[in-house]
Symmetry: C2
Amino acid sequence: MKNTFLSFEQVSLSDGFWKKWQQINAAVTVPAIYDRFAESGRFDALRLDWKEGQPHPHIFWDSDTAKWIEAAAYVIEKNGDTALIEKVDALIDLIAEHQEECGYFNSYYQQFQPEKRFTDRTDHELYCAGHLMEAAVAYHRATGKDKLLSVVCKYADYIEKIFVKEQSASFVTPGHPEIELALVRLYEETGELRYLNLARFFVNQRGLKPEQQYEWADPSYSQSHLPVREQKTAEGHSVRACYLYSGMADIARYDSDNELLNACKAIFDNIINRRMYITGGIGSAANGEAFTIDYDLPNLTAYSESCAAIALIFFAHRMLMSELDGKYSDTIERVLYNGFLSSISLDGKSFFYVNPLEINPTLLNRNRSLLDKSEHLPITQRLELFGCSCCPPNIARLMATVGGLLYSQNGNTLHIHQYMAGTAEFDGTKITQQTSYPSDGTVRILVEKYQGSEIAIRIPGWCRNWQLRVNDQPIQPRMEKGYAFFPCSSNAEILLQMEMATEIIEANPLVTENAGRAAIMRGPVVYCAEGADNGENIHSIWITDELDAEEWDSEQFGCKCLRIDAWQPAPSQSLYYPANKQPSVQKRLTLIPYFGFANRGESEMLVWLLKK
Amino acid sequence: MKNTFLSFEQVSLSDGFWKKWQQINAAVTVPAIYDRFAESGRFDALRLDWKEGQPHPHIFWDSDTAKWIEAAAYVIEKNGDTALIEKVDALIDLIAEHQEECGYFNSYYQQFQPEKRFTDRTDHELYCAGHLMEAAVAYHRATGKDKLLSVVCKYADYIEKIFVKEQSASFVTPGHPEIELALVRLYEETGELRYLNLARFFVNQRGLKPEQQYEWADPSYSQSHLPVREQKTAEGHSVRACYLYSGMADIARYDSDNELLNACKAIFDNIINRRMYITGGIGSAANGEAFTIDYDLPNLTAYSESCAAIALIFFAHRMLMSELDGKYSDTIERVLYNGFLSSISLDGKSFFYVNPLEINPTLLNRNRSLLDKSEHLPITQRLELFGCSCCPPNIARLMATVGGLLYSQNGNTLHIHQYMAGTAEFDGTKITQQTSYPSDGTVRILVEKYQGSEIAIRIPGWCRNWQLRVNDQPIQPRMEKGYAFFPCSSNAEILLQMEMATEIIEANPLVTENAGRAAIMRGPVVYCAEGADNGENIHSIWITDELDAEEWDSEQFGCKCLRIDAWQPAPSQSLYYPANKQPSVQKRLTLIPYFGFANRGESEMLVWLLKK
């Protein structure tokens, strides 16, 4: 049995936390990315007439453009933005104009090394192709226009010819997964089974034989160390990894392939039980942008790429389609409110590529006797554009489609996964969520003309006490894997009341970096202490079990902020001294949502506070 | 007024902690280094007949050989080892044979780029020359033989000609200091003022004008960012730095140059108050082997090079000649018992170049998806030889001469700086120390036929309670800068009783890495917890103020070991959970002297323990 999600198109968010973010996305983020991409030459690159003196195109610029088109399509779908349609059409015209007769399209290869097509596994050609497919599907659904869809179908057919029929490429599987999940989406949109077959081909071939790697990489860097069904741990470049795992989960679902699904389950469990930051960030090493080893989760040098957080949501979302288990929806929620949202500034214009859990600006100058002073420390302020700017349009496309993560159906059961104010309409049924989540834990759900017989509503893993009422009567639902099941038909008013307390969270003792430390969460939101509120040397501040927490609504962060009891050692002139010589001074520590850090200038930031 | 030290030649250690180390040094270390250097081609390189297929000489191999000669000379001085004399003479013959008529000698340049002599500031020519001078002085004092001394005098004269008279070199000051302090020693041995003048020249010229740097280095890397008198913080490559500071302290002392002395004082204070590990290790960054910024003292990635620890002793020793202050002798003691001794295995054969304060072997594989998996983590076991093997002979020469750090005189006052069992004889006076320090804090000092009128004995900074008795009578000495002054003439029996408790030491709250952590010291010895005794995941073990410490004599480490109360969180399957969900289990934690870590196979090691 498969769980079929309502698409974001069927869900309209109303005033509330995520609606505000979607408004910023449409009004600021999508236009801002367009402008930065235009200025940086990404769109001109599609003209295939690069001249000396212009910014030099990069091998994956097509994917940036494609992801922007995809994000724009989602905004158009909801808002019908005519000016945006014109911009997208102009880009699509350029792509269609330059597609080769055979179907190939890659603005970089066609201009700079036309004879080397499909000879370098690490050069992102199939990755770019995959993103064009996702863009085409999104734009076709948004507008009914099929120009880009035709382009990518023709391209997909050409890829099938080269990689499957002729096997004339220099490699078998892409160095950067993405096309697998994209081909599944192309199949879903067109109904053409050959695209699903091609996706399955790329998934199944991976790891069967040695393939080209970067000269500095182990095969696990591109998840090619083992056949996919034998992979049980998350390895290598974390974005590559979770794009692949998403494609694997798709194929497992369509093929009812339990061996493949079990590999996905093992990998997912490995991630959430051993290799994920409390923020949902993954890929702890800048070196290789990669998963490392179990429990290796450094805070200051955390890589935790924005695209990897997004890819983990993709993976979890697809796992939820095969298996209703709160660990998947809990993970989606953990990423959404923390490691995903941290990647964008509150004004929607600037982005983090890397999302550390600690910032200490003084350390940026630690290598003062070297010309390259920064080592691998993350930047401390968000930027409007990166040389490798994969993250911004990825953020925009997810932001526009979070509504697609809320509901799924399986037979006569409707699943409610996430809490966001808004309305869903499907098959004559209307579901309305009224909530100010995550500011508080009360969710009122109005069900109208429901055709099924049962509802399953997620009780988040963070929640210790909750009550469920239907039509004002308390009920005792059946609990299964984090979901509360109860009968429901036709109309009903469901009231879920989740106690949302300020909680002290510890990490597994094997996480070296967090030994003796604790994080503060309230509901799904991870908090941090920032220098802007708390002065310097936050690393030395300690808390106890007695927080005496006070909370208030913050307009700036759209969420509660907190104040708790803490202590900080007094300054000293000595470097080493007998214990307890230095008194600690009590102070009230202000905590803001982690996602909101670095919006008030450069300052220290810390998630994991000392706890005595 | 200058404090004149008794040389190591005037001090004979007897049974006790350091005597054992000196015996190992003479019997094992010096011969082992000779063998490794011979095998690796370092001595053959002096033949200037390198052929394809042989190990290729390196630009600083002459300095390795010179430091070994110097160490051997000290052993010969004490033990009169004939076989060793023959080995040294053979090396000196090769050097003398190949010295050019003009005086130049550099086995690398003469063979591989004779036309480039003194054109590359970063190529260590003057550094090698300096070490040859130190070797020559030591061997002349040990044996009276002057062949090498003649070589280096001629070379020094040539250097003076090129750098001062002709100014025909491509640079003014050496990229790697060493020759400054070496020229002072050459002056002290020969009485030739021109060598002191040349040392002063190199000190004074530094930082006056921009000079060549490595292409990746800031001028501060080689302490060339400012004129020396304007330098107030310890910067750059830490060995270069402390060799230079030693030379600066020498010139300041000879010239009574207060401006230069004040620069040295400021730099010394900067080191010990802000940039030194609790072990006395300095230079916290592998990147540049360098000092970084105040309070930046990472434990796992600590560089803390063995040569830098030794160089800090050189610097402190020279400062003590100008100013009697316990901070200098405390620092010497801190380095000797910790960051210096950790650099050599208990059997005397193997060495650390880098001395971390934490070892976590599992992290060595964290970059598992990359071919280069190790990042910048230090090696976990000592080696017999390094490609850059500057440390081993440096360790050997200091080990042989620790007796030279014990006593100094100023007018009618004798200063007693360090506690080591043994006898010093000078000017008809005999001083005998009886002690099992650092195993306990009782030192009995017999003074015979003392010609002065006063003694000043250091009360270590680590000591909180002590008693001083002279001829069995308690006395109330005058305290000044960490020294207890009391009248003494002719014969006396001094009894210093220092309470040596197991102490919990904290670091300045600005040391990020040590926040919430504490180290255990007993007397001058820093302790660590090692996996060999305590199992895995030592980072999660926590202690409180109640240690319930138990101590015992360890034959293996030649020092007390400790056992204290500690707690460790029980294992968990979850990655994150509410605080206090995981119980902690009480255990007795075994601590060994830090210097003894990594002598029982690879395992975890930790100095800074969690403290609640």
